[in-house]
């Protein structure tokens, strides 16, 4: 990969070969490379494929039999799917925490491996789109949402904004990664004019995807639990915990499994980022809770239900306290300077997993479900995901991990020898 200051190079294919023939070769070679590996790699991919197939089958059954197979109701009309969707948008946006040091602060070592964050964004957005489709009652009418041929309620509906920003972010990252890997395949220096503007745009865009996703919820006056101006900043703060946490664990694994070097410095940078973002997130949660509980009144019902249960209904209480415990413990671990020591790698990974799971609960089940409990007519109908919903969810996660694994494998040559360019 080149640095920003690298002089523009030839972008037309040389050796009398046109892109029309060399691009398919690039795709073919990438696919071949991505399917090469050790026995453990094949076992991993086989397991993911099996889980994905279970999810695909569960989803097909849901479409055939109606969404009665889920445990959602007219009271709690969004559940595990939308919870995961919300979290995955954060994960996609979180990758930008590698892009910012690499491109805005010219951190060379981060720059060499920044593609990991961009590839994560691709996998996460693919999962987002799958979760939205899984949540649709009529996926066969998906085309109604397409601009021009359907009826797109833009700019009034926040959901149409989300469709635009998510797909835009996917295209941006596909372009950036695709271009860099293709240039690498051709053995050329990437031309900065073909990707630097897109990288800069992707930084702004990453913020926008999570802001718009928060606006989906916080713009609803009838749902006091979501109707807070703090929602978008909170979403971003937790995204900048979960994204870097996932990337740190990935990098520790990549280093161990593939021998890619130069990852320790980026790991340290991301750890320092989480150290701050996890505290900002906790501060905002505390601020939110103070406002809710000190004010009291009927606006606090959902928060009461979430933390202590309401009228004897306590389904979410164990979830939320688990999240609080994980978030606080992870925050304390990240505050400890020794966590960056090499011999504490397993502890760093543990802290990352704790922060990741904590954010998943807080932003998923802990945010979407209490928005519906009590209902707008103050009925308390509880929600626990059904087996079908878990199967579909695991299937989508497996597919996302497959996409991420394949993407990383495709990028391995670039990661292993960044200095070449």
């Amino acid at each position: 990969m080149s640095s920003i200051t690298a002089p523009p190079d030839i972008t037309e294919p040389g050796d009398n070969e046109s892109h029309i023939t060399s691009y398919p070769k690039f795709i073919g070679r990438s696919l071949w490379l991505a399917t090469e590996g050790s026995l453990a790699f094949y076992a991993w991919m086989t397991m993911l494929t099996a889980l994905f197939l279970v999810g695909a089958n569960a989803w097909a059954n849901q479409v055939a039999g109606g969404m009665v197979g889920t445990n959602m109701t007219d009271q709690v009309s969004w559940g595990l799917y939308i919870a995961n969707f919300t979290f995955m948008v954060g994960l996609a946006a979180g990758g930008v925490m590698m892009v910012i040091p690499a491109y805005l602060y010219h951190d060379r070592k981060m720059h060499d491996v920044v593609i990991i964050g961009e590839l994560l964004a691709i996998a996460a957005i693919v999962m987002c789109l799958m979760f939205v489709v899984a949540d649709l009652g009529r996926p066969d009418r998906f085309w109604h949402m397409m601009p021009v041929i359907g009826k797109f309620n833009w700019p009034i509906s926040m959901l149409t904004w989300d469709v635009i920003v998510l797909n835009g972010y996917l295209v941006l990252n596909l372009h950036i990664c695709g271009y860099l890997l293709y240039m690498r395949f051709l053995g050329r220096k990437p031309n900065p004019t073909w990707y630097i503007p897109f990288v800069m745009l992707s930084i702004v865009w990453a913020i926008s995807i999570h802001t718009v996703t928060a606006f989906l919820y916080c713009g609803l006056g009838g749902r006091p639990f979501w109707n807070t101006a703090l929602l978008a900043p909170r979403f971003l703060a937790s995204a900048f915990v979960s994204g870097p946490a996932f990337i740190i664990v990935s990098m520790v694994l990549i280093k161990r499994l593939t021998g890619v070097g130069g990852l320790d410095h980026p790991i340290a940078t991301l750890t320092k980022i989480i150290r701050v973002t996890i505290l900002i997130n906790l501060l905002m949660v505390a601020s939110e809770l103070f406002t809710e509980f000190y004010t009291g009144g009927s606006h606090v019902s959902a928060a009461k239900y979430l933390f202590f249960g309401l009228h004897g209904k306590t389904a979410l209480v164990p979830w939320t306290w688990t999240a609080i415990a994980l978030n606080i413990s992870a925050a304390l671990l990240f505050l400890w300077p020794g966590l960056l020591g090499f011999r504490w790698r397993p502890l760093l990974v543990t802290a990352c997993v704790m922060a990741f799971v904590g954010a998943w609960i807080e932003k998923g089940m802990g945010l979407i479900v209490p928005g519906f409990i009590p209902s707008t007519l103050h009925e308390i109908v509880e929600y626990v995901p059904s087996q079908l919903e878990w199967k579909v969810t695991v299937g989508i996660w497996a597919f996302g991990l497959m996409v991420f694994t394949i993407a990383i494998k495709t990028a391995l040559p670039t990661l292993k020898h960044p200095a070449e360019h």
Partner: protein, 313 residues
Amino acid sequence: MTTTKNPSRPSLPIVENFTRRAAVKGAFATLGAGAFVAAISPLRQAAKNTTAAEFMQQHYTELSPEQKADVIARLEAETKEKYGADVTIADDRPIPGTKFVYAINLSVCNGNGKCVEACHKENNHDRDTNQSYIRVIEMPKGTMDMEKGSTTYTGTVPKDDKFYLPVQCQQCDEPPCVDVCPVKATWKEEDGIVVVDYNWCIGCRYCEAACPYHARRFNWKKPEVPAEEVNPDQSYLSNRIRPVGVVEKCTYCLHRTRRGKLPACLEACPTGARVFGNILDKDSNIRWILENKRVYILKEELGTKPAFFYYFD
């Protein structure tokens, strides 16, 4: 690993058993694709229930009169085929100079629930789930806080220390449900009624999350109504039997009210608590009530501007 270990040139690995590996990979890819097709085979069942004509159908507001006639003929035939019932589906349009408004006298309503039942039958709701567009909240006297109420009350009504608050779609003038719909499957008509094109809704349920009155329902399963119980007087935007996977709502019984009749819930009410009419008609009952009673609306602070009023005597 059989790849070449030349770090400086990571190109297509040329190895002796390249062809064999390619064949193995191809076999696994085929196996995976086959397994995927098998996994999603239940979709074939779902595809059988959706005809090409239904899949290609345009938005209600974009159908020409001929297309509309075709769609309605198809829907009538489908109802005959799937439910065994002969029905007429009309396309009732707003009457010019009409703006429908509802009011309920809470001093009179005694929570008997006849409106809930009438709605269930009139609008061809799913029998298993006992669906209805109306919910009645039993409230302790002395509070307007819905949190203290109950929608699942039982026993003889009315109870001395309670009053009863029926809630259905408020046909808001600023409907949040309409704003959030990503595909314009729901909109407000000239007579104030918020309708849904059940053949355009994609089932994302964003409107259900946006509605502050719990007025919207989702068809989690295919509605089941025995042939002899199907109400054959239907309208495209109103009480025709809804498809699975779409959102539905109260339409002030537009298949009745746009033909000069009263809503089914009003006709069924034994107490006379319900008043319905055209607010633009100066001599209407509803107009007199709004002018002379101290009326209030639900959740006024949200700015939804309901066309549904409550009052006490």
